[in-house]
Every structure is written in structure tokens, then in C-alpha cells.
């Protein structure tokens, strides 16, 4: 009793958003000390690029957050980005408009999510195994089709590159899309019965069933969300490039690395691999912190491998801190 009384008020509210608060402080610190190390960080050009670079990760991290909240995992999101990117490029090359290609891309992502969901829920496969396998299949399709070469069709809808590189009111379009996605899912998870059901299933599946939640449907749905958002991120990524380039370590991250970064973002934001925990806001902040740190390290002239080292250290530090706070 005495213990729970101390959880009232501001401290209580912070208690629920401790990870988020930690990340906000970390971000503020990063912005505050940045000018001491590099004059480029706070330039508008850099922030413009940074917000676009960070948006792809934020979008997939939101989907990953929902999957982790129900206690699942989606290892196929990087591969979905690839496959959707390739298909988008082929559609555009055959004369489909950027808008129609966009809708078809999301539909494909949702469909791949349905496959993941059905395998996990109705096929009773462990999500780790199921999505590892579907991701492998998708990567295999992409690599077999392209033989590792770029796909760069001519005469595609110019709107496509505009979506990837343009801006609305000074905000890069991918970043604007990300803001809409974050706001939408933040609202869905905190204000709708669907959001509550996702948390209920993640917290205690049996109990959720006993209060009348269709647990199978909820479990399946998070993979559809995850797949759709991965497709969205894939579309935006390749819209930026204007061509399709099969992902390798040399081209800025393999599908697997995207998965790891997304999981890291959610976990940084207070999520947990055993389910029941995590927030959309936390995933967004986690992704943003990762993006800022990477950007920072690039400006400081650190190599790509050293960046990963630093990022991993940050993950350990923040998660340990969050757990310590929780225990206190």
C-alpha cells in the first residue's frame, strides 16, 4: 500500500513513461552538446536529411512495437521492404502511376503480413521461426530475380522521386508521412478498443480471451500492421533513390540490420521481447535517438562499423537504466 502511494502524481505518470522520458533527455543532450563537436549538426541541411533518414526506421519500428507488445516478433520487415521496393519499381517500369503503385505496395505489404500472421497464429509456428523463414523466402526471391543487380527502369512517373526527395512546408515528405503514422498509431494504441485489446493480449492471452477478445484475430492483425508499415517504409526508401538496389552491407544495411534496428528502437522506448510492454511514442523516440546518434557519428567522421558498436552500447545502457528504474 505505502509503496503504491508513491506512484501517484507526476512521479506516477513518469513511472509509465520512464523510458520515453529518458530518451527525450538523451535527445535534448545530444542537441545541446552537438555544437561543441561539430558545426554541421544543427545546420538546416543536416536536420532535413536526418529527419528523412530517421523516418524509414521510425515507420517500421511502430509496426515492430505492436508485434512486440503482443509478445511476437517480425524478422521479415527488412525483406518486406526489399520485395515491396522491387515490385514497386517493376510496376512503375510497366507504366503504373506512383499513386497506384503506392496503394499496391501497401496491399502487398499487408498481404505478406497476413501470411506471417496466419503462420504464427493458425499454423501455431513460433513467430521467430515463421518470420525468419518468410523473410528468407522474400530475400531469396529478390536476389534470384535481380541476381544482385540494380533495377532502374526508365521513364517512370516523376512523382515517385518527388515523394522520396521532396518536401511539404519544409519537412521532407517521408518525415511528414512518418509524423502522420506515429500520430495515428499513438492514438490507436491509447484511445481505441483495438489498442487496448493489443495490450490485453500481450499482457495475458488467456485473460484476454476470457473477457471476450478474439485473441487470434488480434495476434494476426499486428503482423498485417507490421507488414503494411514495412511496405510503406520500403516504398519511401526506394522513392528516395529512384532505383532499386538489392540491399547489402555496402548499400547501407541488409534486411537483417533493419530488423535489429527496429527491435532496438522499440526496446529503447520501453518495449520488451516478452510482450505486454512498449509504446508507439517510445518506439518513435527510440528510432529517433538511433538516427540522431548515427548521424552524429557520421559527422564526427566515424566509420560505419564503429557506429554500430556505439549504437549497441547505447542500447545496453538505456535498457539497463530502464530496468533499474523499474526495480526501484
Amino acid at each position: 500500500m505505502q509503496k503504491s502511494q508513491t506512484q501517484n502524481g507526476v512521479a506516477g505518470w513518469l513511472g509509465d513513461y520512464r523510458s520515453e522520458a529518458t530518451l527525450v533527455i538523451l535527445l535534448c543532450l545530444a542537441f545541446a552538446v552537438a555544437p561543441l563537436f561539430t558545426e554541421f549538426f544543427l545546420t538546416s541541411d543536416n536536420l532535413f536529411n536526418l529527419s528523412r533518414q530517421g523516418s524509414y526506421l521510425s515507420i517500421v519500428a511502430i509496426g515492430m512495437a505492436l508485434v512486440l507488445i503482443v509478445g511476437g516478433i517480425d524478422l521479415s520487415i527488412g525483406a518486406i521492404m526489399q520485395l515491396v521496393g522491387l515490385c514497386t519499381m517493376l510496376l512503375l517500369g510497366s507504366g503504373v502511376s506512383a499513386g497506384n503503385a503506392f496503394l499496391l505496395a501497401l496491399l502487398l505489404g499487408a498481404g505478406l503480413g497476413v501470411i506471417n500472421g496466419v503462420l504464427c497464429v493458425y499454423g501455431k509456428m513460433q513467430p521467430f521461426i515463421a518470420t525468419l523463414a518468410t523473410g528468407g523466402i522474400m530475400t531469396g526471391i529478390v536476389m534470384t530475380y535481380t541476381e544482385g543487380n540494380a533495377v532502374a527502369p526508365q521513364g517512370i512517373d516523376p512523382l515517385f522521386k518527388e515523394i522520396g526527395g521532396g518536401a511539404i512546408a519544409g519537412i521532407p515528405i517521408p518525415a511528414a508521412v512518418m509524423i502522420v503514422v506515429v500520430a495515428l498509431f499513438w492514438w490507436v494504441m491509447t484511445n481505441t478498443t483495438y489498442g487496448k485489446n493489443v495490450y490485453a493480449v500481450g499482457s495475458n492471452k488467456n485473460a484476454a480471451r476470457n473477457i471476450g477478445v478474439n485473441t487470434n484475430l488480434v495476434l494476426c492483425s499486428v503482423y498485417v500492421v507490421s507488414g503494411t508499415l514495412a511496405a510503406l517504409a520500403g516504398y519511401l526508401t526506394f522513392a528516395r533513390m529512384g532505383t532499386f538496389q538489392p540491399a547489402t552491407a555496402a548499400t547501407g544495411g541488409t534486411p537483417v540490420e533493419m530488423v535489429i534496428m527496429a527491435i532496438a528502437a522499440v526496446v529503447l522506448g520501453g518495449g520488451s521481447l516478452v510482450g505486454g510492454k512498449g509504446t508507439v511514442l517510445g518506439a518513435f523516440l527510440g528510432a529517433t535517438v538511433s538516427a540522431v546518434m548515427l548521424n552524429y557519428l557520421v559527422l564526427l567522421g566515424m566509420g560505419i562499423w564503429f557506429q554500430r558498436f556505439i549504437l549497441a552500447m547505447i542500447i545496453i545502457f538505456v535498457v539497463l537504466l530502464a530496468q533499474k528504474n523499474e526495480a526501484a
Binding site: M1, K3, S4, Q5, Q7, N8, G12, D16, N191, T192, T193, Y194, G195, K196, Y199, A200, S203, N204, N206, A207, A208, R209, N210, I211, G212, V213, N214, G276, K277
Partner: protein, 498 residues
């Protein structure tokens, strides 16, 4: 003068705001079977957990064979000679019977290699000596629940030359032959000078096997007595205390009109054509020993079992039994027996837990946007109505005491309207104070005109609360008791045999 095997002096234990044991003394003589009696929540399990090193006492001392001991872990207690047989089976299902029997003390050929021959032969010998038909090479997973329990018993008893063996409801799953085997084992142990603490709800067993009995209530030792100097009635009276009438609320008589009718409810291998009806304003109890199928009745009605045949009518409408979702939509409210595993969202707030079931139906716009303020207000009302002790709707429900958690589990069905209430073990593991309030609320639900169905393994609770009790044996209704027939004896005799 003979030294006591175990001497406990002034032991107290508090969990949160809950004083579970208060200044408790207990002595255990060498070679005796000492029965511990008390209602759920009286402190029996906490006491044995302290003796077996799972919990540590806040105050008090413990002497084992005259030596002062303090166990910091179950392992230390085992080394010290205390073997404990908990209610839950604690075996490794994918190992064989013999491997389980010898787990941690396998006979060895040398330092590294296990002597498999000695292991299997030794195990089979132990089993045969008790007249049990269990194959030592069989995997535990493939054994019947009662055989698994017997293996567990043999293991606990023979492990590390125990001087004290604690048995918590050892006969819960056993058939008569196995109970006899267990009792002959107990006899052997007594001859060797081993002392046994024996916990059971079955009064008859106590008189059959125990030398002395101690009754606990509200964490205190009420009395220790030789079994020959006490009667069953006296024990019951000591267990519930003088305030028995106040424990259960005054009931009004049920109406004659039938509100819910269950006909020929069958579940493969569990229930066979179970038929009964519940009248308006009636609390109908369901009783039955473990393995009888009694626990399946409500689960089957709620859509948690594959029902092979049968109908449920409420107010004349035949319900479609499919999933909990459809059952709730048709007006059934359900409190599961295992609140941690099947009921509560432990890492979520009290408010979340109270209204999660009715968000869509009562607190949403367009069926999916949550009206947070109204939901919050409703959960505050429930907290007040049930007297749930919490600092607010934002506290994590896992931080509440068992009694308050259980109140919340019932409370989630107080928002919204239902046509029938299904309860399993509505007061399992809660203190007397919370019990009284839960009973009051159940009674109020019935008085409001609802049929209430209640499964409980506590016969006293069924007798105190219910207008009639349906007894289940081998998946069939073996009797429906009411009025003067509603006694522990009658329930037991219907539950045991024809």
C-alpha cells in the same frame, strides 16, 4: 525426555499490508503425523513455505532436532532434512520415472558416468515395494496424473534422508489404491522416526492417518490436540471461528422461475450429459473432487471446452456456445479459478483490468474509440463499491493483495448487465475480510435477479453460500443437494461413490 523433531516459536510473517502469520508456535514430535487444518488463507501454506525455506519468517525461531536453524533457500532446507511435497507436481516431464526419482542424486559408476542399471533397478524396486504399477523406464509425461503424484511422493520422501516430510494435499488426485499405498508409505516412515506434517481438506483422512492435529485461523495457532481427543465438528468449529454466521450473508429465497437451464452438457472424456437448472435469484453450487469433471462444467458453458453436445438456455433463449467472446455477447459473465493465469492483466493498471471487458460495449464511440473519462469514472465506482484497497485506478493490479485482486476480478462484471454469472473458486487464496465482501457481492448479484453458478473446492463455502449444490462424479451429476441435506458429509459421499 524426547526431543521434538521440529519446534517453531513465535513465527510471524507479513506480506505487504497482510499479516499472514502472527506469533505462531508449533511443535512436531519424532515419528508423528501432525495434521495442519485451517481454511484457505489461514496461513498453512505460508507456514510450510517457511519451514521448507521458500519464505523467511519476519520474526521467530525454528529448532530442527533441537538445533536452531534458519533456512535461506529450499535447497538449504532439503540438506537440513526437510522434504516438501507441494500441491503442484514438480517433475521434469520428458525424463523417465527413474530419472525423476533420482534427480540430482543419480547413482554413479565414477565421477562422471551415471550407473543407469543401478538407477533403473533401484527405482523399480522402490516402486514395486509399494505395490504400485508404474514402469520406471516410462517418461513422466506419459503417466496418469495420479501416478505422477505417487512418483513425486516417493522422490520427496526418499530424497536426502528427510527427518521431516511435509505433505500438502497429497491425496488430491489419487484413487483409493494409491491412497492406501501412500498411507502404507507414511506408516513405514513413522516407524523410521520420520515426522510428517500433513495438510488435507479431507476430514476422514485426518482421522485415519494423523496422531495430532493443529488448527490455524487468521495466521494464528488456535489449538493443538491429540486426534483421539477431538471430533470432526470441533475441528470445523475451530477452523471457521465463532463468527461463522457473519461470514456468509443472509440470503433471500430464490424464486421458482427457472432462469438458466443446462441440458445434457457433454465434453469428451470430462462431462457426460450434465443437466441442471438455476432459478432466478438462486446461487447454485458445483462440487466434485479433483478429476471428477466439476471444474469443466463452467468452462464448457463459457466456451472454453469443446462441447460435444448439450444446450444452455437463459430466460428461454438457447445460447450458442462457441467462444468466450460469443458467450459474453449472449450475457454470460465469468470469473476464472486461476486469477493470475487466466484472469488478470498483472502488469496493467487497476482501471484497465476493471473495464477491459466492457470497453467496446459500454465506453466507446462508433464501437472503437474509447471514452476514457467515463471508463475511468466507472472503474472508480467499482473500486468504491467493492472496497478495493488501492491508491487509485492507475496502480498496477499486480501490486495489490490477493484479496483485492480477486475483488477486481469479480468487479469487472459489475459494470454492464449480464444474464447469468459463472464463478470458479471466487475466494481462492484470499483473507477472511475480502471473503466476506466477495460473498456479500455475490449474494447481491443473485438478489438482483440473476442466476449465479459457482464452482468451489471449499465445501464450507458452498454450504454457506448456495441454495443448492450439484455434485459431479465421473463427469456425471451424482446428486443435487439442498436444505438439511446440504452438509459436508452428504457432498463427500455423493462425490466419492454411489
Amino acid at each position: 525426555m524426547q526431543m521434538n523433531a521440529l519446534e517453531i516459536q513465535g513465527v510471524s510473517k507479513t506480506f505487504g499490508a497482510n499479516k499472514v502469520l502472527a506469533d505462531l508456535n508449533l511443535s512436531l514430535r519424532k515419528g508423528e503425523v501432525h495434521a495442519l487444518m485451517g481454511e484457505n488463507g489461514a496461513g498453512k501454506s505460508t507456514l510450510i513455505k517457511i519451514i521448507s525455506g521458500v519464505h523467511r519468517a519476519d520474526e521467530g525461531v525454528m529448532y530442527l532436532n533441537g538445533e536452531k536453524v534458519e533456512f535461506h533457500s529450499p535447497y538449504e532446507a532439503q540438506i537440513g532434512g526437510v522434504a516438501t511435497l507441494f500441491q503442484e507436481i514438480q517433475e521434469i516431464p520428458d525424463l523417465t520415472v527413474a530419472e525423476n526419482l533420482y534427480a540430482g542424486m543419480e547413482p554413479r559408476k565414477n565421477r562422471f558416468l551415471i550407473d543407469w542399471k543401478a538407477l533403473y533397478e533401484g527405482a523399480q524396486k522402490q516402486i514395486d515395494a509399494l505395490g504400485l504399477k508404474i514402469d520406471a523406464t516410462e517418461k513422466m509425461r506419459h503417466l496418469s496424473p495420479s501416478s505422477r503424484k505417487m512418483v513425486e511422493i516417493i522422490r520427496a520422501v526418499h530424497k536426502r534422508k528427510a527427518s521431516i516430510v511435509i505433505m500438502d494435499e497429497p491425496t488430491a488426485n489419487l484413487n483409493q489404491g494409491e491412497i492406501d499405498a501412500l498411507f502404507s508409505m507414511i506408516g513405514e516412515l513413522k516407524k523410521k522416526g520420520v515426522s510428517i506434517i500433513y495438510i488435507s481438506h479431507r476430514m476422514r483422512e485426518i482421522f485415519q492417518v494423523a496422531n495430532r492435529v493443529s488448527v490455524l485461523r487468521d495466521g494464528r495457532l488456535i489449538r493443538t490436540e491429540d486426534i483421539d481427543n477431538i471430533t470432526e465438528e470441533e475441528i470445523v468449529k475451530l477452523m471457521v471461528g465463532r463468527d461463522l454466521p457473519a461470514l456468509y450473508p443472509q440470503r433471500t429465497l430464490p424464486e421458482n422461475a427457472v432462469a438458466m437451464k443446462v441440458t445434457d452438457l457433454s465434453v469428451e472424456g470430462e462431462l457426460d450429459k450434465v443437466t441442471f437448472d438455476v432459478r432466478r435469484k438462486e446461487i447454485l453450487g458445483i462440487a466434485g473432487l479433483e478429476g471428477s469433471g466439476a471444474t469443466s462444467v463452467i468452462k464448457a458453458m463459457f466456451g472454453l471446452k469443446h462441447v460435444t453436445s448439450g444446450t444452455i438456455e437463459v430466460d428461454g433463449d438457447v445460447l450458442a456456445i462457441r467462444t468466450p467472446k460469443t458467450s459474453i455477447a449472449q450475457g454470460l459473465a465469468y470469473v476464472p479459478e486461476d486469477r493470475k493465469h487466466d484472469g488478470l492483466f498483472l502488469n496493467k493498471t487497476v482501471g484497465f483490468n476493471l473495464v477491459a471487458s466492457v470497453l467496446k460495449s459500454h465506453f466507446s464511440r462508433l464501437g472503437f474509440v474509447v471514452r476514457k473519462r467515463e471508463a475511468q469514472a466507472a472503474s472508480k465506482d467499482v473500486i468504491k463499491r467493492l472496497g478495493i484497497k488501492t491508491s487509485g485506478t492507475h496502480s498496477k493490479i499486480g501490486s495489490l493483495s490477493g484479496g483485492n485482486q480477486q475483488k477486481a476480478l469479480l468487479g469487472r462484471w459489475l459494470v454492464g448487465s449480464y444474464r447469468a454469472i459463472l464463478l470458479e473458486e471466487p475466494t481462492r487464496g484470499v483473507d477472511i475480510g475480502a471473503k466476506v465482501e466477495i460473498y456479500k457481492e455475490i449474494s447481491a448479484l443473485a438478489n438482483s435477479g440473476l442466476p449465479v453458478l459457482m464452482y468451489s473446492s471449499e465445501m464450507l463455502e458452498l454450504i454457506g453460500m448456495c441454495d443448492r449444490v450439484v455434485v459431479i462424479r465421473n463427469g456425471k451429476v451424482s446428486g443435487i443437494l439442498s436444505g438439511v441435506e446440504l452438509t459436508e458429509e452428504k457432498i463427500l459421499s455423493k462425490a466419492l461413490s454411489n
